[in-house]
């Protein structure tokens, strides 16, 4: 490269953090987006409760699935938003013109979205516990680990597909349509692991699912980081 661009992992890390901090700052200054999405998550939890009926045992059994669907449905609203801010003022072009590798933008955005969805989960998780009569599980660190692993995969794919969906017509429909089929294996292993852990996991079922979940994360992270420059060029 002829331009005097700083190279090396240190420079890459700086770029990643710059993008992440920029996105989070924009989010922190408005806040309205976060509040609306958290309210949305709470409402989905209530609606599932109404739909399933007030049977304590049934609610408890459904809790893991409901929790993950709530994360998926409300989290997907955040991803388009992360590019929407850039598109409105034409900032995306400028961001792409900056020197450095394109994938650093992607990782930066993934980290910002991850922070966003994790803070949303910090409210959703206890709320699910209260509404669905799930008592504080003994192996709560593992539950949090499963939540983190599942969220990483979800956010990675969501950030990639939103890069496309947010720049095409009717993005609201397109993003879930592209994203959700891809998330099926992730949703499956995340709900199975969560359900096993919430139920005490006497059979040790969760281990296989957690390993599977970690594998998906690696595959999706590699695939999405590889694909992002192709999505963004031009």
């Amino acid at each position: 490269m002829t331009t005097p661009v700083q190279a090396g992992w240190r420079a890459d890390a700086t770029r990643v953090m710059a993008v992440c901090v920029k996105d989070l700052t924009a989010e922190r200054r408005t806040k309205s987006n976060f509040n609306a999405i958290v309210a949305m998550a709470g409402m989905i939890l209530l609606l599932f409760g109404f739909a399933l009926g007030a049977d304590t045992e049934g609610l408890r059994n459904a809790a893991a699935g409901v929790l993950w669907l709530t994360i998926l449905f409300s989290g997907v609203l955040a991803f388009n938003r992360s590019y929407q801010i850039e598109l409105e003022s034409g900032a995306l072009e400028q961001l792409l013109l900056y020197p450095g590798e394109r994938w650093t933008i992607f990782i930066g955005k993934v980290l910002a979205n991850l922070a966003f969805v994790l803070s949303m989960e910090a409210i959703t998780l206890p709320l699910t516990g209260v509404l669905y009569h799930v008592s504080f599980p003994e192996r709560w660190p593992e539950v949090l680990g499963v939540l983190l692993l599942g969220t990483v995969g979800f956010v990675t794919l969501g950030t990639l597909y939103a890069a496309m969906a947010s720049r095409s017509r009717s993005r609201e429909v397109l993003l879930p349509l592209l994203l959700f089929p891809m998330l099926v294996p992730l949703l499956l292993s995340a709900t199975q692991a969560t359900a096993a852990l919430l139920g005490g996991d006497v059979m040790g079922d969760s281990r296989t699912w957690i390993r599977l979940l970690a594998t998906f994360d690696v595959i999706f992270l590699v695939g999405a980081t590889w694909a992002f420059p192709y999505v963004m060029e031009g």
Partner: protein, 254 residues
Amino acid sequence: MAESTRREPVPQPSARIARHTPLVTPAPARWLTALTWFAPLFAMAAQAYFVSQSAPDRDMGHLQKIMYVHVPAAWSAFLAFFWVFAQSIRYLVTRNERADLQAASAAEVGAVFTGLTLALGSIWGRPTWGIWWTWDARLTSTAVLFLMFVGYLALRGLTDDPDRRARWSAVVGILGALNVPIVYMSVKWWRTLHQPQSSPGTLDPFYTLGLRTNAVAFSFLLILFIAHRYRTHVAQRVREMAQDAAALQRRRTT
């Protein structure tokens, strides 16, 4: 359009694509005309012969004969998705627009065959299993595959810029294909109702022959459909580019 003007190369919009030979509306090909006659006739003959001649199954009776459409349809859908994957990679490597249009055609035909597989499977499942649908590994992974095709086609339909459309759908096609074996494996842990493929060892040789003949017949149909859709896609792109070029010309002269 007159026959003489049809094959004239049209100015290309992007420098990347211009590296390749320009897109032209394909001339009527003799092999395609032959295939247009051959494939449907072969498929009809193969269906008629094996449905009428094969003996009723010990357990399922005549119901079993739906296998001759259901399994070849599934086979064709997998082939189509493989073609989408291969052409998507080809597009990202060579940036040849033909690869993109091939992938688009295969995705359309693949979606139809996947939908057909699901519908025929349901029709088969109702009398044999007593249910239209069950949450079984094979069924759910096929349904997911179908939705992926639908998402792919929706993305194509909702993106206007052809260069962007080609790049994006190539990425979605490749990642989607990457997900297919994952979906398949991940649901293997589930209890499964769908029978595994019957091996030639357990099957009457006449059934095997019927299945294979019909699978080949369906593959010919698949090639036929993709080829026709591809020709239409190319013709549409050539027309679009001609319109763009004409609009540009008008702007220059005024």
